[in-house]
């Protein structure tokens, strides 16, 4: 199979295309000759410039009908795919990306490959790579099903690079019948005021684990340090499951993958499932009172100590420097 047309399921936050989408568009240019975006939302015109800049020639704009975009998009993509015959459709492994790829796989009766880390064309075949067992083992897969191939990739797997293309042409797809999927109506949107960068886009990430001791310690030890460094804050699954912080902050196999310039792990043991989400950071600093903690196996700078002592002192020292 030669790969001609690649579609990318695009996502945006307001009028800004997500970095995961830009990463996929960049990869799509490498594996295919024509790259197009599909987008469920009413501001396709506003994002067509960014999509074009990263290689999409067209954006097929789907009416989300006030419902969860991933849930309704599948019906429109299935119709569009029959008409335009893409060879591959790429999704980011995000909340809406997963909704869309899941529904579409049923509509088209195609298997899905998810949690991709690598994607390449070898001998005319698409080779998909993922990691298992907490990122210690890499597995390559191929599909034997017919096109289009449905693939979801973890954000941060590829580097986004602009192609310098002009704005993508907007092809408005009329409202399609998505059946009861369209009933998933979004009534209200609550956004906690986000100060500083997003977890996946931050240059510096400070994460806390069970070693911070209590839910109340998260703010002074983790959040405040992150803010001082103009970074984002994250967490291990242990404290997400304990209900100390929301799931959106989880870093690791079943959470987010981050790749900041500096990752600071506070009171995190460094289980393989946590490491898989952060071990590709440029620099890793760990503070843990157990000198044998596996996190030290990946840390560039390890401090064997108590976060309750080291972090307040660190915050003071940084505050003094910043004046």
């Amino acid at each position: 199979m030669t790969i001609d047309k690649v579609w990318v399921f695009a996502e945006a936050k307001g009028d800004k295309v997500t970095s995961a989408t830009l990463e996929l568009l960049t990869k799509a240019r490498e594996i295919g000759s024509t790259v197009e975006a599909i987008y469920a939302g009413d501001n396709a015109e506003a994002i067509a410039g960014q999509l074009g800049e990263y290689g999409a020639t067209t954006v097929h704009a789907i009416d989300a009908q006030g419902a969860l975009p991933g849930q309704v998009a599948a019906a429109a993509i299935a119709i569009g795919a029959a008409e335009h015959a893409p060879d591959v459709i790429l999704f980011a492994q995000t909340y809406d990306g997963r909704d869309a790829i899941a529904r579409l796989s049923v509509k088209l009766d195609r298997p899905v490959l998810t949690n991709g880390f690598t994607l390449a064309v070898e001998g005319g075949k698409l080779v998909f790579g993922t990691a298992i067992f907490g990122g210690t083992t890499m597995v390559d897969c191929e599909l034997s099903s017919d096109a289009p191939h449905l693939i979801a990739v973890r954000p941060k797997s590829f580097t986004a690079e602009p192609s310098g293309g002009g704005a993508a042409a907007v092809n408005v797809v009329g409202a399609v019948d998505a059946g009861r999927a369209a009933e998933s109506k979004v009534l209200e949107v609550f956004e906690e005021e986000q100060i500083g960068p997003k977890l996946e886009e931050a240059e510096i990430v400070v994460s806390g684990g069970r070693g911070i001791g209590a839910s109340e310690s998260y703010k002074p030890l983790v959040e405040e340090l992150a803010k001082q460094l103009k970074g984002a804050f994250g967490a291990s699954r242990a404290i997400v499951d304990a209900g100390w912080v929301p799931y959106a902050l989880q870093v690791g196999q079943t959470g987010k993958t981050v790749k900041p310039k500096v990752y600071i792990a506070l009171g995190i043991s460094g289980a393989t499932q946590h490491l898989v989400g952060m071990k590709n950071s440029d620099n890793i600093i760990a503070v843990n009172k157990d000198g044998e903690a596996p996190i030290f196996g990946v840390a560039d700078l390890g401090i064997v100590g108590d976060v309750n002592k080291v972090i307040p002192a660190l915050k003071d020292a940084i505050a003094a420097k910043q004046g």
Binding site: L68, A102, S105, V139, L199, L229, K261, G302
Partner: protein, 258 residues
Amino acid sequence: MNVVVCVKQIPDPSVPGQLEADHTLDRSAKPILDESDSYGVEMALQLVDAAGGGEVTLISLAPNGEVSGLRTALAMGAAKAVLVSDEACSGTDALGTAKLLAKCVERVGDADLVLAGTESSDGYTGTVPAQMAELLGWPALTFAKKVEIADGKVKIQRQTEAGYDVVEASLPALVSVTAGVVEPRYPSFKGIMAAKNKPVDSVTAADLGLEGQVGWAGARQSITNVTQAPAREAGEKFEDDGTGAEKIVAFLENLKVI
């Protein structure tokens, strides 16, 4: 109100994973209830309780007739279970799993709500729930961190990057829940004893009318290469003798981030 809960039984994650020669997971260890699904079970029990009637039915696809994880969920208070266990299901992928589980929902009949985890701990495709909803022709409210039922509708708070969305659909519907939504109860001794006699309806792919559509052939994918990921080198490590903070400051200054 009747709630069906998807529960996956997974190899104990504290035992290091291994692949068999045919690239399926080594499942020789006794499987346990996936922690991701313990939240769905607890949520279902609470919702049925609040509705003042109805029952919780579990559905699971597992090799070799495994029931140990199901027994845990039955001991928590679920009434009964449907288990798909069949040689023919070995190698089944996410879509095949969803096809089997959707048929189980139909077999149970009269479900108002299906609950699932957002992603399983061993497979973590995170697609099975929405695939099931599409197969059933139902709305799916995914990544719920809060679930409420009122007036024939289900309303959730859906996790987003920056907060949450309030999303609603009418029943019957499928909802996937994140970890931490509720605190799963520990089975009581009485619960554990009672679970031994609760009915488990064991079915095959053929019983569900899906012969030939599941297993390796249905998955239409193959593993072509397995390699060890390169390990990262450890750097310097210091005991904190009161200078730990200074060392971090120096490191950050060197990187020009402060």
